[in-house]
């Protein structure tokens, strides 16, 4: 049994309670959601915090998927499993179900949350790539109920670093809903439940004439951050979907990512995957947008 260093623990009863505690305890405190990223690091003593503020009691309040005509709002405490099982979400953004099927295992998915995934800001995090692909924005709440909304690009400041301040908390993710959309996600892993060697998400929005109105690609595990690739959007927009176009996008993905060689694979291979998976997901996203 791996045992963490001593810490104090408190259960938050409301969002403002949690933020109040953060305000008071500063950087010696951490929120714990599903705990599947935080606790392993604490058990390995790679992270030592004096206080843990458990926000699981807020699941009632922050565990939801709400669809309106122009937006999907997802609460930060929505669990992987809820994202996987939501038919409404799968209908709007099939990329979520694609991704959730290959994230971790049922034990992790039962507890791990969307908010925790994004705030962990691990460059291999799949949901960050999904949210980047969908051009999501993040609602961050601070002391006194102050809320600000930041784009995924601004949310991830660097590996394991986000725009969320010490006394702030991520409460919601908002995803714009546009007509003619299709999306898909693909991941290459060495084994079920392993983090991605590389994964890619793609979303396309087709105009009435069948041409690409907008397209976005997000990669995970292909660089220090899970940022999007604007060059791909520029290259695809206005064109009719075609294999050559996907190939072009794949080449851009391979060129613009910045993977490192590690136990999961060589940088060269990862670049190849960025290309291959970009093509595959674009192809599938277009198929879905059409149907």
């Amino acid at each position: 049994m791996q045992v963490p260093a001593p810490f104090e623990y408190e259960r938050a009863t409301t969002v403002d309670h949690a933020i109040g505690l953060l305000e008071r305890l500063g950087s010696s405190a951490r929120l714990v959601a599903g705990g599947h990223s935080l606790l392993p690091m604490m058990k390995l003593r790679l992270a030592n915090f004096e206080y843990l503020i458990d926000i699981n009691p807020l699941h009632e309040e922050l565990g939801y998927i709400k669809t309106s005509s122009d937006e999907v709002r997802i609460g930060a405490l929505t669990r992987h499993r809820e994202l996987l099982e939501s038919d409404a979400l799968a209908a709007a953004f099939p990329i979520f179900r694609d991704a959730e099927r290959v994230i971790a295992d049922p034990i992790v998915r039962n507890r791990g949350t969307l908010g925790g995934s994004l705030c962990q800001a691990d460059p291999s995090e799949d949901l960050s790539a999904v949210c980047t692909t969908l051009d999501a924005s993040c609602v961050i709440r601070g002391p006194g109920g102050a809320e600000r909304v930041v784009s995924m690009e601004d949310f991830h400041v660097g590996p394991y670093e986000t725009a969320v301040g010490d006394d702030e908390m991520l409460t919601e993710i908002r995803i714009p809903l546009r007509p003619g959309g299709g999306s898909a996600y693909e991941k290459v892993e060495r084994r079920a439940g392993d983090w991605a060697v590389v994964s890619a998400g793609a979303a396309v929005w087709l105009a009435a004439d069948g041409t690409i109105d907008d397209a976005r690609v997000g990669l995970a595990a292909a660089g220090p951050n899970t940022t999007g690739i604007p060059e791909i959007s520029a290259a695809l927009t206005g064109h009719a979907p075609a294999e050559e176009l996907y190939e072009q996008a794949g080449a851009i993905a391979a060129r613009s990512c910045d993977p490192a060689t590690d136990q999961r694979g060589s940088a060269e291979y990862k670049r190849h995957l960025a290309n291959e998976l970009t093509r595959r997901t674009l192809r599938r996203a277009v198929e879905r947008a059409r149907s």
Binding site: V3, R191, A192, R264, Y269
Partner: protein, 797 residues
């Protein structure tokens, strides 16, 4: 094409035939294990028990300049902080390994691998002990490590084992087998010679339960009770007696339920010794349970052989000779668990299942700054490496000759009439009939159809591979005359006692780690004396309760202790027959045995059951002259030879040409382990071993960076397979009994681990044939397969 056998998914119904003897039956231990009522070492709670945590080296190679323990000693709950220097004062800083080397219990002079034990803390609870480790201040002088095994013997390589007197290099041992000259002569005349460098990377047994112990030394009685995760309780007790100087009768080693061993729990680890010392020092029971990272970075690894394999053959595919040169990485201390006279284990069986003219192996083993080992990780003492080598190079020969790999094997098998067959390296295979086993596997697979499908797929650019491995194992060590562990002969005791009411208890020296001994051994006894398995208690894992024997590893339990159980039961039956003759008032010769009872020949109505005889043996009234009361016996079985199970495995893989991901689509395993005691348990052993093989072939490897940091320190980094990576196993069997074993049984515990990696690798390489790939090393991760597809396959180390 012969019918493809659909994998049966609902065979559970006939799994519990409740046989009085051999046959399918649910495991007696499972109700306990499945309901969470098993009792593992970490479940042991004793009054006043303290907890021990070990400080480990962050460096692979460093001199210890100084250790300051004062802050740790002052920490809350801390009872003792012990360093190597303190142990050295008691002469306990070093201990012998199973291979006659020495290993530091706690480092005194230098640390020699990352994760090496440096000091320990004993505290009131596990958290306090772990927290106090942070307060120990060790000053290290970091040295250059030896990580690249190929450079270990370079003249300028840093010296690792300066503790050994006169040692000037990192050489561990040399070993050779076979006839070098004769082999060279055959190679010289051969039409075809194929040479391949084959790496079997370092892997870890990674049992779900990590290693640990609870030591309880009673200073009044002078008795030490040690609960520990050991596969060999008796051998461990004797070694503790030798190391710690405690009298052997005052040591009780108890191996409670064990959550998987795979060889990882054969060696004695420093942690066990630390727990004993801690209990003696504090006068309290002390528990040490390592965590997952500690298990992965410091306990016995396996494999780590770099092999150059050469095979010589005629143009029409007759294999003439095999030659190999091996560089073996033994880590910082030679902790190999193998019979002492076999420093390379049973690697000598690298000639495989083939009748050849000559063979030769030369091996050099070296020290490196890595964890010590290697253990028998489900490998039957290095047979895994041997079988992998030969099955891989036979495939390279098939590639070279343009011959079907199945056909090439069939052409070269040792023939049934040649058994007992002495190999060119001196191993006497007891029995075998290889062709039917191979043909059955090919039938189940639908081999010809598969090849056709492959051809069609290749034409379409799809990547499908079919891999074959045929193995012969050598299991069941001894005999004692040439096999021993540190002087302890490899023979096993067994005791059987039948109680007055006809229930029985059988006491074994071997110890299950999940193999089902409580069931299999009850069935062996049941078969011989007709008492139902449910009525036979199997006692094992406690040195105070069981006769001496060498333990469970190298698939030796059934070949050795299984024979002992059968023979002791026959001894009891012989006595029962004499008592029966008195009960039925006939001569012994007039009786015949009908399972469970003796009856008068020609008058089966006149009979007495074994239960009636048991009561008579303990009851009032006289017994026949010279017969003592009671119904029990004891023996020690010394095997006359190893047993040699064999098997034919066929694997079918598909590779995604875009991502290079390998999917094992089908796996057919036909095993011949001689007489089959409980087929359900055999299948379980095979399923587990095959899964293990998928792990080694596709994902497992303990890697190090150039500073000697272990890159596999968690199960997120060191991957082991899940049910999602494996297909529904398709198993079959043939039966070729062992002629020298009392019930004809051969071991099967490791067959699948031995046989499956080459089948899977052969399948992947076969799938990559369109790219001209002749060999690619494990682990075949997508990245490495992609390299191979581009002609850039590299060894993993």
């Amino acid at each position: 094409m012969t019918a493809v056998q659909e994998p049966k998914l609902t065979t559970f119904d006939d799994n519990d035939q409740k046989p009085v003897g051999y046959g399918r039956m649910l495991r007696k231990e499972d109700p306990r294990l499945l309901r969470g009522r098993g009792r593992f070492t970490d479940d042991v709670q004793l009054p006043g028990m303290l907890h021990l945590a070990i400080l480990r080296s962050p460096f692979a190679h460093a001199r210890i300049v100084g250790i300051d323990t004062s802050a740790a000693e002052a920490a809350p709950g801390v009872r003792a902080v012990v360093t190597g220097a303190a142990l050295a004062e008691q002469g306990l800083a070093w201990m012998p390994t199973l291979s006659n080397d020495v290993q530091a219990v706690l480092a005194t002079d230098k640390v020699r691998f990352q994760g090496q034990e440096v000091a320990f803390v004993v505290a009131d609870d596990r958290y306090q002990a772990r927290d106090a480790l942070e307060l120990i201040d060790v000053e290290y002088d970091v040295l250059d490590p030896v990580i690249d095994v190929r450079k270990a013997l370079a003249p300028d390589a840093p010296l690792i084992r300066d503790d050994l007197e006169g040692k000037a290099d990192n050489h561990c041992f040399d070993w050779e087998t076979g006839d070098e000259e004769a082999t060279a002569a055959v190679f010289a005349k051969a039409d075809v010679v194929v040479e391949t460098d084959v790496v079997y990377p370092r892997v870890h047994p990674a049992p779900m339960e990590t290693c640990g112990a609870v030591a309880d030394f009673d200073p009044i009685e002078g008795k030490l009770r040690l609960w520990s995760t050991t596969q060999a309780p008796h051998a461990h007790r004797t070694l503790y007696a030798i190391v710690a100087g405690l009298p052997e009768h005052k040591i009780q080693v108890i191996a409670p339920d064990i959550g998987g061993g795979f060889g990882n729990k054969v060696p004695i680890y420093p942690g066990y010794v630390c727990a004993i010392v801690a209990s003696i020092v504090t006068g309290k029971p002390v528990k040490w349970m390592e965590d997952r990272s500690e298990n992965l970075i410091s306990t016995g690894f396996a494999r780590d052989y770099i092999m150059r394999g050469e095979i010589a053959a005629t143009r029409d595919g007759k294999i003439l000779a095999i030659r190999t040169n091996v560089l073996a990485d033994h880590g910082a201390f030679n902790g190999t668990a193998a019979p002492v006279k076999y420093p390379a284990g049973f690697f000598g069986v690298f000639t495989g299942s083939y009748d050849i003219e000559a063979a030769y192996c030369k091996m050099t083993a070296v020290y490196t700054n890595k964890a010590p080992g290697g253990v028998a990780y489900a490998c039957s003492f290095r047979i895994t490496e041997a079988v992998y080598l030969v099955e891989r190079i036979v495939d390279t020969l098939a590639y070279e000759l343009g011959m079907d790999p199945a056909e090439l094997r069939l052409k070269n098998f040792i023939q049934p009439e040649q058994f007992p067959y002495e190999t060119k390296t001196g191993w006497v295979y007891d029995s075998g009939n290889y062709e039917p086993t191979m043909r059955l596997a090919m039938d189940i697979a639908g081999y010809a159809e598969l090849r056709k499908e492959q051809e069609e797929k290749r034409a379409r650019g799809e990547l499908m591979g079919i891999g074959i491995a045929f193995f012969t194992e050598a299991v069941g060590a001894g005999p004692r005359k040439n096999m021993d562990i540190l002087g302890l002969g490899m023979a096993d005791g067994c005791e059987l006692r039948v109680h007055p009411t006809g229930k029985a208890v059988v006491r074994l020296s071997v110890k299950t780690q999940g193999q089902g001994h409580e069931t299999t051994f009850a069935q062996i006894v049941a078969e011989e004396i007709g008492i139902p398995p449910a009525d036979i208690e199997v006692v094992h894992g406690d040195t105070d309760q069981t006769p001496f024997g060498l333990g469970t590893y190298g698939s030796r339990s059934t070949p050795v202790s299984g024979a002992a159980a059968a023979l002791v039961a026959r001894k009891v039956r012989d006595k029962a027959q004499i008592i029966a003759s008195a009960m039925l008032e006939v001569t012994v010769a007039d009786l015949e045995w009908e399972k469970g009872k003796f009856q008068v020949k020609g008058d089966p109505g006149k009979s007495v059951t074994i239960q009636q005889i048991a009561m008579r043996a303990h009851g009032a009234g006289d017994l026949p002259d010279g017969i003592e009361g009671g119904l029990e016996a004891q023996i020690c079985y010394n095997p006359s030879n190893l047993t040699y199970p064999h098997g034919a495995y066929i694997c079918v893989v598909d590779i995604d040409p875009g991502t290079a991901q390998v999917k094992v689509r089908r796996f057919i395993a036909v095993d011949d382990c001689g007489t089959r005691i409980n087929p359900m348990i055999i299948e379980g052993q095979v399923h587990g071993g095959l899964t293990d093989g998928v792990g080694m072939a596709l994902m497992e490897m303990i890697a190090f960076d150039e500073d000697g940091n272990c890159l596999g320190a968690s199960l997120m980094d060191y991957l082991i397979p899940t049910s999602l990576e494996v297909p529904d196993w398709e198993t079959g069997y043939t039966v070729t009994p062992s002629p020298h074993h009392p019930i004809g049984a051969k071991g099967v515990g490791e067959s699948a681990t031995v046989g499956s990696p080459p089948a899977i690798v052969n399948a992947v390489v076969d799938a990559l044939k369109p790219f001209g790939v002749r060999h690619a090393d494990m682990p075949l991760t997508p990245s490495r397969v992609w390299d191979a597809m581009r002609g850039q396959a590299t060894p993993p180390i």
